[in-house]
């Protein structure tokens, strides 16, 4: 309990927040690295997932690839890339991108795939072009699940971005590696608590986004199907993609 109190004390020590290696700076670095990783991974994974979900082709391959990527231990990948690319941010960013791709990919194709084939067929029969089907039908209906994938990826990346400090002087992980060297366990625990908090806040923010992007009609349809509560009450939109084969 003493250690815990010390960790809290470390967190609230004003001296610890200031300066280029203070908590504020580290927190920002951590967020920026996570955001960069998510953007890179999203640019790769979301279009691929969207195409797979839209066409229904290549799903097996996607499941295999994301399953394979998921099986890679991030620390091992990081070490490998570190040996290849040397000290700096490139190796950790790459390792984290690999970590983020599977949930993004799964979310994207599950989102597109979740749209009722009959709805898509009707849209096509009415005379929508393929791009209009994607933009006006599949994307709005599937978006909550796509965002669920982003949410899941964000959670993993923020938690794992601690490892960036293994190879670069960046992120909240610095406090862990530093504390390990100097046996400053209060600092280590404090930094861990901070990351947990950060992950929860970001997760909460994405949960909110997920709810905001759920179209009213889709929410109503879902609660009508489950025979449940009136639609005004809380949405059952809390859906996270963690497995390769969701929905």
């Amino acid at each position: 309990m003493n250690l815990f109190a010390e960790a809290i004390a470390w967190l609230f020590g004003p001296d610890n927040w200031a300066g280029p290696s203070g908590i504020t700076a580290r927190l920002l670095q951590h967020l920026v690295v996570s955001a960069v990783v998510l953007v890179i991974a999203a640019v790769i994974a979301l279009p691929v997932g969207g195409v797979i979900g839209h066409t229904g082709r290549g799903k097996q391959l996607a499941v295999m690839v994301s399953g394979g990527l998921r099986a890679l231990p991030t620390l091992g990948v990081l070490t490998l890339f570190g040996l290849w690319l040397g000290i700096g941010l490139r190796a950790p960013v790459l390792a984290l991108v690999i970590l983020a791709i599977p949930p993004l990919l799964a979310g994207a194709y599950a989102g597109f795939e979740s749209v009722d084939r009959r709805t898509i067929d009707a849209a096509r029969a009415m005379g929508m072009r393929e791009t209009q089907i994607v933009g006006k039908v599949e994307l709005p209906i599937g978006l909550p699940i796509v965002v669920g994938g982003i949410r899941s990826a964000a959670l993993q990346v923020i938690a794992t971005a601690m490892l960036a400090a293994y190879l670069a002087d960046v992120g909240l992980g610095r406090f862990i590696f530093e504390g390990l060297k100097t046996r400053d366990y209060a600092q280590m625990l404090g930094a861990s608590l901070l990351v947990i908090l950060l992950a929860l806040v970001v997760d909460g923010a994405f949960a909110l986004v997920q709810r905001l992007v759920t179209p009213t009609g889709v929410r109503l349809a879902r609660s009508a199907r489950t025979g449940g509560e009136p639609a005004r009450k809380r949405t059952p939109a809390r859906r996270t993609i963690t497995e390769g084969n969701p929905v």
Binding site: T119, M126, G127, Q132, V137
Partner: protein, 270 residues
């Protein structure tokens, strides 16, 4: 006028969905394609708006081979109503009805006015305009589907088992509404069903198909009853079971029409 010329659809695995159909759909009438599942009736319907392209033969609308028309433009000029309505779940009733006119570039305001008008035409209260499909009953959803099919004022309306998923009472109501609409609007309607009673009720021309996508007989409902082409037809229309063989009986001074088993079908007007 829609014309099928030697139309065949064979899938890569060898399945023949439609096997050499020649057929003329006269304008401003209702043609019903009827048959069991696997008789290719839906495939035939979907060839009209190029949702399916024939592997042989051609489909012509007013003399133009549809294969030469851009599918998207073609589909926007033809109304389509499907089973389970196919409404976009994330859009309101009004937005659903407005979809095709907006795709065609109609201004929002006039599309909206037209959609409101159509809701009334299909017998829906204006208060439903802002509801979402999930808030409607099955019958109401189908009405919205019909309104959407009519929104761009197409000459041709394709209906793929539109009343298949609603309960019998609502179905009867919708069938009567469709007859009324057709009297008012005079569209060229192609209607797919597996229900021969529905076919006889709605069709000016009935086309009976059987497995493998072959036309067994086509003609008016009366022609079907008067001279069924073969046993398959009599079986399908129920002539062989005596359901369509009616005779008169005198009860309490009234002439009652009964079927072969003596069950009353109605009273004959003097």
């Amino acid at each position: 006028m829609i014309e099928f010329r030697g139309v065949t659809k064979q899938y890569p695995d060898g399945t023949v969905a439609v096997g050499g159909v020649d057929l003329i759909v006269p304008p401003r009438t209702t043609t019903v394609l009827v048959g069991t599942s696997g008789s290719g009736k839906t495939t035939l319907l979907r060839m009209i708006n190029r949702m399916v392209d024939p592997s042989q033969g051609a489909v012509l609308i007013d003399g133009t081979d549809v294969a030469t028309v851009d599918p998207v433009r073609l589909r926007r000029s033809i109304g389509y109503v499907m089973q389970n309505s196919g409404l976009l779940p994330h859009r309101t009733v009004l937005d659903n009805v407005m979809t095709v006119p907006l795709l065609n570039g109609t201004r929002r305001q006039s599309a909206r006015a037209r959609a409101m008008e159509l809701l009334e035409t299909v017998g829906l209260d204006a208060s439903l305009a802002q509801k979402y499909p999930a808030q409607l009953s099955g019958g109401q959803q189908q009405r919205v589907g019909v309104a959407r099919g009519l929104a761009a004022d197409p000459n041709i309306l394709l209906m793929d088992e539109p009343f298949g998923a609603v309960d019998p009472l609502v179905r009867q109501e919708l069938q009567q509404e469709l007859r009324r609409l057709q009297r008012e609007l005079g569209k060229t309607v192609v209607f797919v069903t597996h229900d021969i009673d529905e076919a006889f009720l709605l069709g000016d021309q009935v086309v009976l198909l059987r497995t493998g996508g072959k036309v067994v007989q086509s003609g008016t409902p009366a022609e079907f009853l008067a001279s069924p082409a073969d046993d398959f037809v009599s079986g399908f229309v129920g002539a062989d079971r005596g359901r369509r063989r009616l005779r008169l009986e005198e009860v309490d001074g009234q002439r009652v029409v009964v079927d072969e088993d003596g069950r009353p079908a109605g009273v004959l007007e003097p």
